[in-house]
């Protein structure tokens, strides 16, 4: 699993990459009350805003960590945004992306580096 400085996690599953936000990020956000997901089939470029997360405190974005196509989104999250707090690392994944260049994954941190990053 890889981690971005934007506190997303990336897990390779066959030829797609599953993306969610880290436990640390979900704690910092507080109770999540609203999620807007992209549509499956959308072509995205790295660092483009693709999701909106609103917590009781504020709104924030999830950025596309890679160039590619969004092939699947976790639609049930929209009706159950609190799942991002309860199960951020597994059940509350946001979308699956089919990367056009998997080597972009190399830019990101491994788990130990991320742990150091969040201190």
């Amino acid at each position: 699993m890889k981690f971005t400085e934007e506190h997303e996690w990336l897990r390779v599953e066959g030829d797609v990459v599953v993306v969610g936000i880290t436990e640390h990020a979900s704690e910092q956000l507080g109770d999540v009350v609203f999620i807007e997901l992209p549509e499956a089939g959308t072509e995205v470029t790295k660092d483009e805003e693709v999701c909106v997360i609103e917590s009781v405190k504020a709104a924030s974005d999830v950025l596309a960590p890679l160039d590619g196509e969004i092939v699947e989104v976790n639609s049930p999250l929209v009706d159950e945004p609190g799942k991002v707090n309860d199960d951020p690392m597994e059940g509350a994944w946001f979308f699956k992306i089919k990367p056009s260049d998997l080597s972009q994954m190399d830019d990101y941190m491994d788990e130990n580096a991320y742990k150091d990053f969040i201190g």
Binding site: V33, F34, V56, P81
Partner: protein, 374 residues
């Protein structure tokens, strides 16, 4: 920015695991480990304890309550002289343009007037009172007392364990009560839409009394985060967001807080800053008004969201001044100013969120019904 000040309850907040943030110059708990959502729901279901010691507590003394009250009426459009002994009332300082300089609570303490003002405004408020009222009235900021609020349907049960007499207090009563052997000033009021109390405690005793309350099963510490969502659901204004130097009390839908005796045809009409403008607004109506807003979708509409009459085109007809998620309402809630034509409950308008216009309905305030002890 200077060093943040601490309230007498700072150590207790840290011990409870609060996340501390700077607010109006004070290091305050924004949330405890329970989190904003659960704190909010707990307060509406049982009881929540809030540290509001950052607010300003001020005693105004003259030869009598009446003399202090008469002087104070030069600064506010409320009936201060007619307030009964041991009673409290909501009010606000106005400016010459009829805007609001701060909102406040004031109480008749028998021989003097007691005023509680917002933390961010307190220096200016005290300067205003000193300039306008001295030497006939002495203005004393009380800096050696904490102020806490105990709010929620179980507040009475909890506080009555420390002194059963608090159960007999009516909404907006204000009296001195001994709690755990300490002389406290207690009012039956608050700012959450729930029944409850505000309690002024000598600073040395504050943490001890708060610990006693927090040990009770009904009571949890509640941070500023949930305080904001509670007051928003309760339709209560946050000074600086929903009311300001630019909003008249009539635009702000606070007409109810200007008693008849101070209005144009009252016995003590006017005599406060901006009376002409405020009487004009009352007589002729206003072009914009503060309303409750219930977004149709799930996306919160936060402060600053522009409001439009139609789904496409046109200039903004208003703006959201406070907005977020209402845990009790179970959806987004907001308030803001809209034009006269839209200020009718049930009107559908649109708020622009991330470039998209989303439907929002003008709603009766409060969005969550109040639960005061009348």
């Amino acid at each position: 920015m200077g060093e943040l000040k601490r309230t007498p309850l700072y150590d207790l907040h840290v011990e409870l695991g609060a996340k501390m943030v700077g607010f109006a110059g004070y290091d305050m708990p924004v949330q405890y480990p329970l989190g904003v959502m659960k704190e909010h729901l707990h307060c509406r279901a049982a009881a929540g304890l809030f540290d509001v010691s950052h607010m300003g507590q001020v005693a105004l003394r003259a030869e009598s309550y009446e003399a202090a009250a008469k002087a104070f009426e030069a600064l506010v459009p409320q009936d201060v002289m007619g307030l009964g002994v041991a009673r409290q009332r909501y009010g606000f300082f106005t400016n010459d343009a009829g805007g609001i300089e701060d909102d406040l609570m004031f109480a008749n303490r028998g021989d003097h007037l007691f005023v509680v003002v917002n933390a961010a405004c307190k220096e200016a408020d005290i300067a205003r009172m000193v300039a306008a009222l001295t030497p006939d009235v002495t203005v004393e900021e009380i800096t050696d007392r904490a102020l806490v609020a105990l709010q929620g349907p179980a507040a009475e049960t909890a506080l009555a364990r420390l002194n059963p007499s608090v159960a007999d207090m009516a909404f907006m009563d204000f009296t001195e009560v001994e709690l755990d052997g300490v002389a406290c000033w207690v009012s039956r009021s608050g700012y959450t839409g729930e029944d409850g109390y505000e309690i002024s405690i000598p600073e040395a005793d504050a943490a001890g009394i708060c610990r006693k309350l927090l040990e009770m099963e009904e009571v949890e510490g509640i941070g500023l985060g949930a305080r904001d969502s509670l007051r928003l659901e309760g339709g209560l204004c946050l000074y600086g967001n929903d009311i300001s130097t630019d909003t008249s009390p009539i635009e702000a839908a606070l007409t109810w807080a200007i008693q008849k005796v101070r209005r144009a045809d009252g016995d003590r009409a006017g005599g406060f800053p901006g009376a002409d403008r405020i009487f004009g607004d009352l007589a002729e109506g206003v072009a914009r008004k503060r309303v409750g807003l219930a977004p149709t979708g799930r996306a919160p509409m936060r402060a600053g969201t522009q409001l439009f009459a139609a789904a496409e085109g046109g200039e903004p007809i208003g703006e959201v001044t406070s907005g977020g998620f209402g845990p009790t309402y179970e959806g987004p809630v907001a308030m803001g100013y809209v034009g006269k034509a839209q200020a009718v409950v049930g009107t559908e308008i649109f708020g622009e969120v991330r470039g998209k216009r989303m439907p929002v309905t003008v709603a009766k305030m409060p969005l969550v019904p109040a639960n005061f002890k009348r």
